[in-house]
């Protein structure tokens, strides 16, 4: 019976059709590669001016006041009866000490942050609170806040809260005489409601306020900024270099500068302990130079605000004083730099007169200059992408596919393309392009723009077995092997990259489909 029924099953209606689908149209130039690089054209050649900031510390990174709450309260020692309306019964000043470690601040100006005030009234009549922070002022006006807090009880005091933006306020932390540091004063004045009733103040009634400084950032600070050691290891990966799987690259002579910049009015000790880079094959090269290792000292910046002149120290590396060329040609994708920075290495020698402004920065920058020329010998970049082309062979599906690549190359680099189709990391199919993406050196000068160009048409045929397996494949690795081959000798030679060089790509997908409605 099963055979009988299966023989009656309707065969699927199907037919084949052929399509060409444009997939990619783009033009790549060097501006696509690094957005923090400056490419300058010198004659018909391109120079790279690579600049990258490795460390950038500002005032808020060095000088911080953690979120701090100060509180002041009044509690009568004995019962005061028949307190008439409008009676002032507290008028006292309190000094608070801030815990800032070895930092001794005398004055700061708030760039951003706020103070949250919370006032408690346990009295059975309204109380006028005046909260004054004598050291906190803006444009000469001392910070004063007045609140009329409704009547409360000892068990349930009435609470008034308010958040006040402190941006632009100056905070004098020198105490009453101005000779101290990390000190802030507050003054609390309490007065019963002038229009209220006569009341009694009992000794279990606590009148208090709390002032919480939150998220304070400063654009000016004066004092002693301490001498806490900043030691760190910065690790970063250079894009594209981590995709190199094989081959070598030879570059022209180049130089590299490491610049330490001190925009604070305090002395700084800097030390580059180590720089090394590891490539994708696991080979590491350390940068060796006389300036790697020893401590260097930077003088305080001079000037103030807009006239601030940072002091700086430049560590120059070139072929004469280092192995910088080997370091770069190792194509180390994984860069590692260990450094130390220490403010005030000799202690408080300025007698608390360190200063920092809004534009004060402590920076570590790297910059490299080199002509854009290279010698690539089978330099292979490989990247793996997730693949999700599952198709149901019982429905409309692709039966054959060919990638058509139409390229115009103005770079002096040829490229061989191989695709590896994988399932869970295991290569199931390898597809090799039928031709090489030819180097511009094999082409002719285009009179329109004066560039040497070469057109290539490349076919990458996905065999039927691969197409049939598409639903099982989940990764594709694209491998591109670059070579700067001399067109006459066939050997890899150093080639300069033309100004305005580009690679124009058009990728089309030619498909044969079996349609099953």
């Amino acid at each position: 019976m099963a055979i009988l029924f299966s023989s009656c099953k309707k065969e699927a209606t199907r037919w084949h059709s052929d399509w060409v689908v444009p997939v990619l149209t783009d033009t790549l130039s060097l501006s696509n590669l690094y957005n923090d690089s400056t490419l300058s054209v010198s004659g018909s050649q391109i120079n790279i001016d690579l600049s990258r900031t490795l460390l950038d510390l500002g005032l808020s990174d060095l000088v911080k006041i953690p979120d701090t709450t100060i509180s002041q309260q009044y509690q009568a020692n004995f019962t005061v009866s028949n307190v008439s309306p409008g009676f002032t019964f507290v008028n006292s000043v309190k000094t608070h000490a801030l815990d800032l470690g070895d930092i001794q601040l005398k004055k700061v100006r708030v760039q951003s942050g706020q103070i949250e005030l919370k006032v408690y009234n346990p009295l059975n009549t309204a109380v006028l609170y005046q909260i004054e922070l004598p050291g906190v002022s803006q444009n000469g006006q001392v910070f004063v806040q007045n609140y009329t807090v409704a009547a409360g009880t000892v068990q349930n005091p009435t609470i008034a809260t308010e958040s006040i933006n402190l941006s632009g306020y100056e905070i004098d932390l020198g105490g009453q005489q101005g000779l101290e540091f990390n000190k802030i004063q507050s003054k609390l004045t309490l007065k019963t409601d002038p229009n209220g009733q006569t009341v009694s103040i009992y000794n279990n009634q606590v009148f208090k306020y709390e002032a919480s400084f939150k998220n304070l950032r400063f654009d000016y600070a004066k004092g002693y900024f301490g001498s806490t050691l900043l030691a760190d290891q910065q690790q970063f990966t250079l894009p594209y270099l981590d995709k190199i799987t094989n081959g070598s690259l030879s570059l022209p002579d180049l130089s590299l500068d490491l610049q330490v910049e001190n925009g604070f009015k305090m002395a700084v000790r800097a030390q580059i302990e180590q720089m090394n880079a590891t490539n994708t094959q696991g080979q590491s090269v350390s940068l060796n130079a006389p300036s790697i290792g020893p401590s260097m000292f930077l003088a305080p910046a001079v000037g103030s605000w807009n006239t601030l002149q940072p002091s700086s120290l430049v560590l120059h590396f070139d072929a004469n004083n280092s192995n910088i060329k080997n370091y770069i040609e190792n194509l180390g994708a994984y860069q590692n730099i260990a450094y130390q920075l220490q403010p005030n290495p000799w202690g408080n020698t300025s007698a608390g007169h360190d200063e920092a402004f809004a534009n004060s920065r402590l920076r570590l920058k790297v910059s490299a200059q080199m002509p854009m020329a290279l010698n690539a010998d089978a330099l292979t970049l490989q990247d793996t992408f997730a693949l999700d082309l599952a198709q149901d062979l019982n429905k409309t599906h692709v039966t054959a596919a060919t990638l058509l690549l139409d390229a115009t190359n103005a770079f002096p680099v040829a490229c061989d393309i191989v695709l590896y189709f994988m399932k869970d990391g295991q290569i199931m199919h390898t597809v090799v392009a039928d031709a090489q993406l030819a180097s511009a050196t094999l082409g002719q000068i285009d009179p329109q723009d004066g560039l040497l160009k070469k057109k290539s048409k490349i076919k990458i045929v996905l065999p039927p077995a691969l197409v049939a397996d598409l639903q099982d494949l989940n990764q594709v690795a694209v491998s591109a092997a670059f070579a700067t081959t001399d067109p006459t000798t066939g050997l890899a030679v150093q080639q300069s990259i033309q100004a305005n060089a580009f690679l124009a790509l058009q990728v089309q997908l030619q498909l044969q489909t079996q349609l099953r409605p």
Binding site: E11, R14, S17, D18, L24, T25, D26
Partner: protein
């Protein structure tokens, strides 16, 4: 096409019957140009090979049609008269009950669209394909109803309650496709709309059938009798019709690296649809049922002539259906077997040959007919059984 339903209504004898059961079923498809192998592959399955597609393409004109009709109908002409009082008009009418299920599908399309669908875009690189004036209409519905039949003339009138299972009405007023050979860039411009009522049942409505006989008196064997037939004339109301509109164009030449990296396939697809002015909404709509109107000569079974002519004309309330005319010769082999051969033109196809045979038994008739026995791009089969007792 049911225009031979009543080809053999021998009126005189039916007037004496107490009750009648009429069953008919039919199914046929046809096209102005598409070769039969292609629709056959859709009905029976199988591979449509490229040669069949090429042969169809050579036969297609700029505008083409393909259509399909299937159905089953049952009618019981009861023995109960409307009035037993012979003086009243109702004494000449009997109650009749009817039910049926019908399917209509029709499409008008351009040669270019057929080529694009069945061959793909590759063979047409560089050609501007005109897909304009595409029209698709499809309706499936069931009906059940009752009415009256005149016992003398066999004229009848039935009112049906209709349940529409699905309904599609789509039209593309303008449509062009151009793919450039060098870059494979696709330029697509579309302007059209479509309505789908798909949940089952999608709509309810009312329709009536009218079978009106006129001509000579029924006992005059030498005079002609004609039939004016209206079937499924009515409307249904759908409250959940999905309506799509397209009015726009886009050019696609591939995306840049940045677009591939930043956008998802969904967002890219939505971008295409936005360019095409795609809109989707749910509305209430009236569905005009595929009503059929027919005017035909009725063959007299008891005619003394051995050779007779038959002819008629038919049209439907569907834009994908062109008016159909037919004519042919009827031959009385013997009283129990009569047959005919003729030509038909219109409907979904061009000129083709039709043939039938009718067998008359003591109290029943069986009719077999095909409207596509030669010159055809389709297939056709019609069966009718009538029993009087």
């Amino acid at each position: 096409m049911r225009y031979l339903f009543i080809l053999f209504l021998a009126v005189t004898q039916f007037a004496q019957a107490q009750q009648t059961i009429l069953l008919d079923t039919y199914g046929h498809y046809n096209s102005t140009g598409v070769r039969r192998q292609i629709p056959d592959a859709f009905f029976y399955g199988g591979l449509i090979d490229s040669s069949q597609i090429s042969q169809s393409l050579t036969k297609l004109s700029a505008r083409n049609a393909f259509g399909l009709q299937m159905g089953f109908n049952a009618q019981w002409q009861t023995p109960w008269v409307v009035s037993k009082d012979s003086k009243k008009w109702g004494s000449g009418y009997r109650w009749v009950l009817g039910a049926g299920i019908q399917q209509y599908g029709g499409i008008q399309f351009s040669k270019d669209l057929f080529g694009l669908v069945f061959q793909g875009g590759l063979p047409y690189m560089g050609d501007t394909l005109d897909m304009s004036n595409l029209r698709v209409e499809a309706t499936t519905f069931a009906k059940i109803g009752m009415g009256l039949v005149n016992t003398t003339t066999q004229s009848s009138f039935l009112v049906h309650f209709v349940a529409v299972q699905n309904h599609i009405a789509a039209a593309l007023q303008k449509g062009t496709w151009l793919q450039y050979p060098s870059s494979a860039q696709i330029d697509l411009a579309l302007q059209g709309q479509a309505q789908f009522s798909g949940s089952s049942p999608a709509a309810y409505g009312v329709a009536f059938d009218l079978d009106y006989r006129f001509g000579s008196a029924e006992n005059e064997e030498t005079e002609q009798q004609f039939q004016f037939l209206v079937q499924n004339f009515g409307v249904a109301r759908s409250t959940q019709t999905t309506q799509y509109n397209l009015s726009g164009s886009f050019q696609y030449a591939g995306f840049s690296f940045a677009q591939w990296q930043q956008a998802s396939v969904n967002s890219l697809t939505n971008g295409f649809l936005d360019s095409l002015g795609y809109q989707k909404s749910t509305v209430s709509s009236w569905i005009l049922l595929p009503a059929q109107f027919q005017l035909a000569k009725v063959i007299n079974w008891d005619s003394p002539q051995r050779l007779d002519a038959y002819y008629g004309a038919q049209f439907m309330l569907r834009q994908t259906y062109t008016p159909l005319i037919y004519a042919g010769a009827h031959y009385k082999v013997k009283k129990a077997w009569q047959t005919g051969l003729g030509m038909a033109y219109g409907g979904f196809g061009g000129l083709r040959v039709q043939a039938y045979s009718a067998f008359h038994f003591k109290r029943s008739q069986l009719l077999l007919r095909s409207d596509n026995i030669a010159l055809q791009n389709g297939a056709s089969l019609y069966l009718q059984f009538r029993c009087d007792f």
